[in-house]
């Protein structure tokens, strides 16, 4: 009775907090957690829409069979390598280009406001439109990229960017860097502007060179933000689907099929739901791993800086 009373008191004190949060929690539970648990279960059951097993239950429990099927896929190794290369090069490229441009835009110059304004354009262009533009620009016959390369005498014959495996992977990586490096730039720029100007003035009086100032002031203060942005980029890039799929559909011959694309193809083109679910679990494992690291960083930083 006393317990009930104290629970009630506690609840009424925090009533508003719970009331405000319940609609969202309900939606998340129903629309995200419930299907996600179903997918986890699916990854251990036979679920191939095209060839249902006739015996009941309709979707029998098969243990790790789906996982074994995924590992035995002839292109599985390729998928993992493509995913790692795409994620590594894209994130690395964005972090470097982002850092360079943020440092550039942190200087005062005529028209800085305009340049900073247009930085957001690649990010604002819908992914599907970006993919359409690059598909035409990289076309082997009518594409403007080939025509410019010819004009400058860099190449003799047109390069079939999207139909040769390595060129296709390079192309989607370049588009991937172009589309999202402004996010990195703008985040780092915001962080750079939080560094007190007085530190640089003191360093100038001491006669420090620009490089010395970067190494001993800018970088140490920027690094926490840089690390967090990079972790976010990794978890967002490793599951990339649309940007690649809408340019190459994962082809030619799985050369650009990251794990996200392979899951989509397995699930919604070949309707091997069980295998897709099992492959999804691998991606999930990786994502959770990195989000724990991200969370740790966020907590540590929350204590030390803000």
């Amino acid at each position: 009775m006393i317990l009930m009373k104290s629970i009630f008191q506690y609840l009424s004190k925090n009533k508003t907090a719970y009331l405000f949060i319940i609609p969202s929690i309900a939606a998340i539970a129903l629309l995200i957690f419930y299907p996600m648990i179903k997918t986890v279960v699916m990854s251990f059951t036979y679920w191939y829409i095209a060839i249902p097993k006739s015996r009941s239950p309709f979707h029998p429990f098969v243990g790790l069979e789906n996982y074994r099927d995924v590992l035995a896929m002839s292109h599985f190794q390729k998928t993992i390598i493509v995913t790692l290369v795409y994620t590594g090069v894209c994130v690395g490229g964005r972090m470097l280009v982002g850092l360079g441009t943020a440092l550039l835009l942190n200087k005062k110059f005529v028209g800085r406001g305009i340049v900073r304004g247009i930085m957001i354009i690649p990010w604002a262009i819908p992914t599907i439109v970006a993919c359409i533009i690059f598909t035409l620009a990289l076309d082997p016959v009518y594409g403007i990229v080939n025509s410019i390369l010819q004009e400058l005498n860099f190449v003799e014959t047109n390069i079939p960017f999207l139909s040769k495996p390595n060129w296709a992977l390079l192309s989607v990586i370049v588009v991937g860097i172009w589309k999202y490096f402004p996010f990195v730039t703008l985040m780092l720029l915001a962080a750079l502007q939080g560094i007190p100007q007085s530190l640089y003035e003191v360093a100038s009086i001491d006669g420090a060179s620009a490089w010395k100032k970067f190494i001993s002031i800018t970088w140490p203060l920027l690094r926490p933000v840089w690390a967090i942005v990079m972790l976010l980029q990794i978890v967002w890039t490793v599951k990339e689907f649309e940007l690649i799929y809408l340019i190459t559909q994962g082809g030619p011959d799985y050369a650009t099929a990251t794990i996200g694309i392979d899951i989509y193809l397995n699930a919604f083109r070949f309707f091997k739901m069980g295998a897709a679910a099992a492959e999804g679990m691998l991606l999930l494992f990786f994502s959770i791993l990195f989000s724990i690291v991200y969370f740790k960083f966020l907590m540590k930083k929350g204590e030390s800086m803000w």
């Binding site: 405000f20 997918t39 819908p126 025509s147 679990m281």
Partner: protein
């Protein structure tokens, strides 16, 4: 001698800036330029950046003559506007309440809720989509805009909570406390004081969500089948037929769906960056 080095540095600096601008903006210029070309000019072996004879014929074709199964670009625009608009409105309402609660109140389980919200940001949604698709099939809800609406809510709410929490964390709570002392209820405070002050932030967060839906291909391609229910990305992809691609029309359609978004982004970017920074980096 010294001044010559300074001038050299200046020139290099501005060259770098110009190069950066060119890289950023050239695909956008290309888009608009191609949308003003006739198909004959697009299929030339020496493509030019500036159209020789600018024409609006592609725009006319996209809006008035292109049809798939009786549905037009206008149908798909309306579908996209309605589904993304409704999902954004509902999500903003839910997420702003939750974000406010997380930033202002102390309660049991708060850290768990917050960890879940962050974890979902990194979750590959295709995992959810696999069984979402099966469930929709079981309830005979495939190929319906309602299902797409539900799936966009599922995407928008966690992002919204994440951004709103950061946003409210960064705003002062003094006026709210004063209103509480004057006898306003918590919901009254939220509705009369917090939300009106948060409108620029809410617009930026809303735009962020809206654009995710506006350009979504993954969910739409899985859930929607018939052309009367297509959203804009599905409609655009249909221009890429098996044998010929209507590039002029695709580019005109793409320009139509891109330019308003780009203008809104430019207009709201200050709030957007502040919100993202607060949510993703400051934690």
């Amino acid at each position: 001698m010294v001044s010559r080095i300074v001038i050299c540095k200046k020139v290099l600096f501005y060259l770098a800036i110009i190069l950066l601008c060119a890289i950023i903006i050239s695909p956008f210029i290309l888009l608009i330029s191609y949308s003003l070309k006739s198909n004959a000019e697009i299929f030339s072996f020496r493509p030019q950046l500036i159209p020789i004879k600018p024409t609006l014929v592609s725009y006319k074709n996209v809006i008035f003559s292109y049809k798939v199964g009786g549905s037009t670009f206008v149908t798909w625009t309306l579908n996209s506007l309605i589904v993304c608009g409704a999902a954004t409105a509902i999500s903003i309402l839910f997420a702003s309440l939750a974000g406010y609660s997380l930033s202002r109140f102390q309660f049991q389980g708060k850290s768990i809720v917050w960890s879940i919200v962050i974890l979902i940001q990194t979750l590959p949604l295709i995992i959810v989509l696999i069984s979402f698709y099966i469930l929709l099939g079981r309830f005979h809800m495939l190929d319906s805009l309602w299902s797409l609406f539900l799936s966009y809510i599922m995407v928008f709410i966690p992002v919204g909570i994440w951004l709103f929490q950061g946003f409210f964390q960064a705003t002062s709570r003094e006026i709210e406390d004063a209103a509480r002392i004057d006898g306003c209820s918590y919901f009254g405070v939220f509705w009369r004081i917090v939300f009106p002050l948060a409108i620029p932030g809410a617009l930026a967060i809303g735009l962020f969500c809206f654009v995710v839906g506006w350009s979504d291909y993954l969910f739409a391609s899985v859930i929607i089948r018939s052309s009367k229910n297509w959203t804009l990305p599905l409609g655009l992809m249909s221009f890429q037929g098996e044998y010929n691609i209507l590039w002029g029309e695709i580019m005109a359609g793409s320009t139509l769906i891109t330019v308003p978004i780009v203008i809104l982004f430019l207009y709201l970017q200050r709030y957007l960056i502040k919100g993202l920074m607060a949510g993703s980096v400051k934690g």
